[in-house]
């Protein structure tokens, strides 16, 4: 069974190839179902792998499946092999499971798009690259997947590259921004891999982790972990590299759901969990990761409070939730980081797709100030969105409640101050998620025209969401407190948990979380539905902060002034002074000299047999002379 793991990658790859070369002959539904079918088939394979692993005793659940040797140069070997262990199989299940549902949804969502075929090719390619990322047994393979998903993300953010509007400018620019910002992080990853190779002589996960504790000094381990952290902040949109994710919402909504919420952006969390051995050797890097995660969570949640674009609210919410996960893996709670990753994939994909339905029903409108009262117009979407928001806000017994609480519990054991930040963020989370429920769906319609033309989406765009909704509700059973199924399951891959809370602490923090979530929801209710006086006064009291938050703390402006503009100036100097004068000058000189020599040589070949024979004869004479007398 496990020998067939390569099928996992083969299916989406085949889907992308089939749709590339034969797609123009197929009808749109055929294209869509081929793409969805291949991802679904991969999901079935993942399930097979899950069953296969479950059939093995715990300590044997780490299997390397070699495929072929990719590069062999001297001592350097980069085999292509799949690592099948609880962590990779869990990730594969999430990627293919959520991915398949979103593929199906996208058939409806993208149906009228002229580049329908291309969309599904990209989407399948993304799944393929993501699976390489999570299944590879070595750093190099992970890097290939890492770059591959980056490429897919770039292509899909700029999918409507010919569009522009006030929110995003040219859509193609949003793609470029994502790509360039990610390059900064990727650079860190490449450096980390090179250091690993030079200091350990291997890039295979298992070799590295086995050799690292003995032969890696804590300084080197910290350096590697810091470089990996840079990579994670790029891909998983953390401070300081988070700025690309809000712009990434320029992509079609299924893309936002799949790539920029459920799967790709969690690659950083997966990578940290995968390389946990290195982080345990460099605890200060891990500590930094935890703080970056916590601060990102807080900052993004505060920005989400004031956004008026539904997708942007969700985007900042994603950054914030990713912050939780980074915080979790930063304090060593790898299983809980992955747990939150899974539940987040469920409810955030659900929220995005529901937002997509809203957008679909309102002909592209996303400004929540123009909505209102959509509850009656799109009841199904409302219910779906509500479930998602409840899970996001951490409403007791929803999936998000357990996973977020698990992280906070572990953070408490690490640093009470960080816990306080996390808890406050949880409050903000509940407020902004219910602001996103109350403002568009409750109350009176604000834009009559828009409201009249609103309509519910077709079944193909609601049915997959119900699956996600059910998962968002009951997803918590994966890792209920005290039962901890997921934590035990992941133990062969990420090691045993380091923090063992007392029962009293665990229960009391659980209660605190529940109270905070309910309080946040009530706050949103008071402010946006009842418009109670004190809630408004609270907002007014915070008024002076508002411009700061609305401008997203001026981070984009700062980057523009500090990095983008100086670089552009430098580039201009190179382009206008250095390159034409010095580089081009010398290149042209060499080029012209070569061309002149070529012209002379060309004339030597004059087409006459006697000349040719003479040339041979001269060669004969010289060779004989050299070898006989030389």
């Amino acid at each position: 069974m496990l020998q067939l793991a390569w099928l996992l990658l083969a299916f989406p790859a085949a889907g992308a190839l089939i749709n590339t070369f034969l797609g123009s002959r197929f009808s749109k539904p055929t294209i869509g179902w081929i793409a969805s079918g291949t991802v679904a088939a991969s999901f079935v394979v993942s399930l097979g792998l899950l069953l296969g692993l479950l059939g093995l005793p715990g300590e044997e659940r780490v299997i390397t499946l070699p495929l072929w040797d990719w590069i062999t140069i001297g001592d350097f070997r980069a085999p292509t092999a799949l690592l099948i262990d609880p962590l990779s199989v869990t990730m594969a299940l999430v990627v293919t499971g959520v991915g398949a549902l979103i593929h199906v949804y996208a058939i409806g969502y993208m149906f009228d798009d002229e580049r329908f075929q291309r969309f599904f090719v990209y989407l399948n390619f993304f799944v393929f690259a993501m699976l390489i990322l999570v299944m590879s047994d070595n750093f190099l393979g992970m890097y290939v997947g890492w770059e591959g998903v980056g490429l897919a993300s770039y292509l899909l953010i700029g999918f409507w590259f010919d569009k522009r509007d006030d929110t995003y400018g040219y859509y193609a620019d949003a793609g470029k921004k994502a790509f360039l910002v990610n390059r900064v992080g990727d650079f860190g990853m490449a450096l980390a891999i090179m250091i690993l190779w030079t200091s350990l002589g291997s890039v295979t996960f298992l070799d590295v982790f086995q050799a690292a504790p003995a032969s890696l000094s804590s300084g080197v381990a910290t350096a590697i972990a810091l470089l990996l952290l840079l990579a994670a902040t790029g891909k998983s949109a953390q401070i300081p590299l988070y700025v690309w994710l809000p712009d990434a919402m320029a992509g079609p909504t299924p893309v936002s759901a799949l790539i920029h919420a459920a799967t790709m952006v969690t690659a950083g969390i997966y990578m940290i969990a995968r390389t946990h051995v290195l982080w345990e050797l460099g605890p200060s890097a891990a500590n930094l990761a935890a703080w970056i995660g916590g601060l990102t969570a807080l900052m993004a949640a505060s920005i989400a409070l004031v956004q008026v674009d539904l997708k942007k609210i969700l985007a900042y919410s994603t950054i914030s939730q990713l912050g939780y996960m980074v915080m979790g893996v930063g304090v060593g709670a790898y299983a809980f980081g992955i747990f939150h990753l899974i539940t987040h994939a469920f409810f955030k994909a659900l929220l995005f797709l529901a937002a997509g339905n809203v957008m679909h029903g309102l002909h592209g409108e996303l400004d929540i100030r123009k909505m209102g009262g959509l509850r009656e117009k799109m009841p199904t979407t409302y219910r779906l969105f509500l479930i998602g928001a409840l899970a996001l806000a951490g409403f007791p017994l929803m999936s998000g409640f357990f996973s977020k609480d698990g992280i906070l519990l572990n953070v408490f054991g690490h640093s009470p101050l960080l816990y306080a930040i996390g808890l406050f963020t949880a409050l903000l989370t509940a407020v902004y998620s219910f602001r996103a429920v109350f403002v568009p769906f409750w109350g009176q319609p604000r834009d009559k025209h828009l409201h009249e033309h609103a309509h519910e989406s077709p079944p193909i765009m609601t049915r997959p969401l119900w699956v996600l909704a059910i998962l968002a509700i009951v997803g918590g059973v994966l890792n209920l407190p005290f039962v901890l199924t997921l934590e035990r399951w992941l133990e062969p891959a990420v090691g045993e948990p380091s923090f063992h809370p007392s029962l009293a602490l665990e229960v009391s923090l659980l209660l605190v979380s529940a109270v905070v979530a309910l309080a946040g929801i009530y706050l949103a209710y008071a402010r946006y539905v009842k418009e109670i006086g004190w809630a408004r006064r609270l907002q007014n009291a915070l008024g002076p902060l508002q411009p700061l938050v609305e401008h997203k703390y001026y981070v984009d402006e700062f980057y523009d002034a500090a990095i983008v503009q100086p670089l552009k100036a430098l580039a201009r100097w190179f382009a206008e002074v250095f390159d034409p004068g010095i580089i081009d000058g010398s290149v042209h000189l060499i080029g012209r000299a070569n061309l002149a020599a070529g012209e002379r040589l060309r004339r030597l070949h004059n087409g006459l047999v006697p000349t040719y024979a003479l040339s041979i004869f001269v060669g004969v004479v010289v060779l004989v002379m050299y070898l006989v007398f030389g």
Binding site: G591, G598, S615
Partner: protein, 480 residues
């Protein structure tokens, strides 16, 4: 005479026997066919023969190394070279399918000659005796003389044939003279025996050194080293393009395989002397080939000079006289077979009817109209200029690596500089395809075999580049 010795290890030449049988079958089928329509089956019969020979080669691969009558051997190197030659022949047959009916209706001879030339080449790649070597050389040379003049109505084609024949005969005479002198020096024509004798210094130097020099001339002509290369552009340009494709990949592989074997088995003790001679020839060949290619307007002529330059790169691998070098050369030949045949296949699509060549401006604006064709050509051009991760990059990489590890670093540096020069004329084709406007609407010629060979070569160029170790694994070097 010992009859048993005649039949022992007969399987070593099984591919050659298969090819000969199919050549005769093709002639018979052509003679016995009822009408013109049935001549469509001839290329299929030819392909069947080549595939059968491939199967035979694969079958021998799994058997222990054996020698037939001390004249031909089936070791890993010979089998690898044979495979490359058979691949080139198969691709050339696919290219000929739609091409031939336009230029000459006598198809039986054409395909029979292709099979016979293939036979000569594979035999040369496995020959271990100077006489067998010469015999094989003449078998495929004679066939190629005729094939390159197969477009009889076109004066350029007959001119190519005539020049090739005259100069080829000239060079062959040097080769056979060199072989005779070597025989005089060592007293045997078997390469390994010669090597054993010369290692213990039993040769007559007055016979030995001129003999080696003249053998180098003979090989130099066949693989087109400067200054024995002058025929190459004229013949490559004038020959029907499928024949050019076949010649460029097949002849090179056969001649280089035999070249390597002679150097490594008969003359390893003289490596210091011929090493330097080859190094100088390699520098000359790379530089003259690349510089002259810069100024060519015709795609085929450009590829001909590129083929000269590539012979120089391969020669670099031979200079140190190591097993690693011979393996690198064979790998290079494998990649070259795919990318060069592919590039010539694109030239075929661009040729006007009744013309034997396409100027570079025919490629202008190709990307707009025929994106897949332009993509394929880009793959070949990028690979030829040695850009990773395509096949050509690893070909060059292994060759230069062999030179460096053999202590010839300066030669590798010259090679790398030359690759940089070559990028100019390869990439110029891409510039034309992607950035220039078409001067006249180009309607590419196409038929099933052509598309198939384009797809195969492009795919192989990419796959070999992505997974070079997959291929280096089953190629093996010689000597060392």
């Amino acid at each position: 005479m010992n009859i048993a010795a005649l039949t022992a290890n007969l399987h070593v030449i099984l591919p050659e026997m298969v090819l000969a049988a199919f050549a005769l079958l093709v002639i018979l089928a052509d003679m016995l066919r009822q009408d013109e329509e049935e001549s469509r089956l001839l290329p299929l019969l030819t392909l069947a023969g080549i595939l059968a020979a491939m199967a035979a080669t694969a079958w021998i691969w799994n058997r222990p190394v054996a020698s037939y009558q001390e004249g031909a051997i089936a070791d890993g190197f010979a089998l690898g070279a044979r495979t490359v030659i058979l691949v080139a022949a198969g691709l050339a047959t696919l290219l000929s399918m739609g091409y031939l009916p336009r230029i000459n209706r006598q198809m039986g001879e054409y395909y029979a000659l292709v099979l016979l030339a293939t036979l000569g080449m594979t035999m040369m790649a496995s020959a271990t005796d100077l006489i067998v070597l010469f015999l094989a050389l003449e078998i495929f040379s004679l066939a190629l003389y005729i094939l390159s003049g197969y477009y009889r109505k076109n004066p350029r084609s007959t001119e190519a044939s005539m020049k090739y024949f005259l100069l080829g005969a000239f060079a062959s005479s040097f080769f056979v003279y060199g072989a005779a002198l070597l025989y005089g020096a060592a007293g045997t024509t078997q390469l390994r025996e010669i090597g054993n004798l010369l290692a213990s210094d039993h040769g007559n130097p007055n016979l030995l050194w001129p003999g080696i020099a003249l053998l180098l001339v003979g090989f130099g002509f066949k693989v087109s080293l400067v200054p024995f290369h002058m025929w190459t552009p004229d013949v490559y340009q004038g020959a029907p393009t499928p024949v050019t494709a076949f010649m460029s990949a097949g002849t090179k592989t056969a001649a280089f395989a035999a070249f390597v074997r002679v150097l490594m088995e008969a003359l390893p003790a003289q490596q210091i002397q011929w090493g330097w001679a080859l190094a100088v020839l390699a520098v000359l060949t790379m530089t003259v080939g690349n510089l002259t290619a810069l100024r060519q307007l015709s795609l085929k002529r450009m590829l001909a000079y590129s083929s000269v330059a590539n012979a120089g790169y391969i020669l670099v691998a031979l200079v140190p006289g190591t097993a690693q070098g011979s393996k690198a050369a064979l790998f290079y030949l494998l990649t070259y077979a795919f990318m060069n045949v592919g590039a010539l296949a694109v030239v075929i699509t661009l040729e006007k009817i009744d013309e034997l060549d396409a100027l570079q401006n025919r490629a202008a604006g190709l990307a707009d109209r025929w994106p897949l064709l332009a993509l394929a050509m880009s793959i070949f051009m990028l690979s030829l200029s040695g850009i990773p991760p395509l096949a050509g990059f690893f070909g060059k990489f292994f060759v230069f690596q062999a030179a460096v590890e053999g202590g010839w670093t300066w030669l590798a540096v010259v090679g790398v500089l030359n690759s940089a020069i070559s990028a100019y004329y390869y990439l110029r084709v891409m510039v034309a395809m992607y950035f220039h406007e078409a001067e006249e609407p180009v309607q590419p010629r196409r038929w099933g075999g052509l598309s198939l060979s384009l797809a195969l070569t492009a795919l192989a160029t990419v796959i070999i580049g992505l997974y070079p170790s997959l291929w280096t694994g089953f190629l093996s070097g010689l000597g060392g």
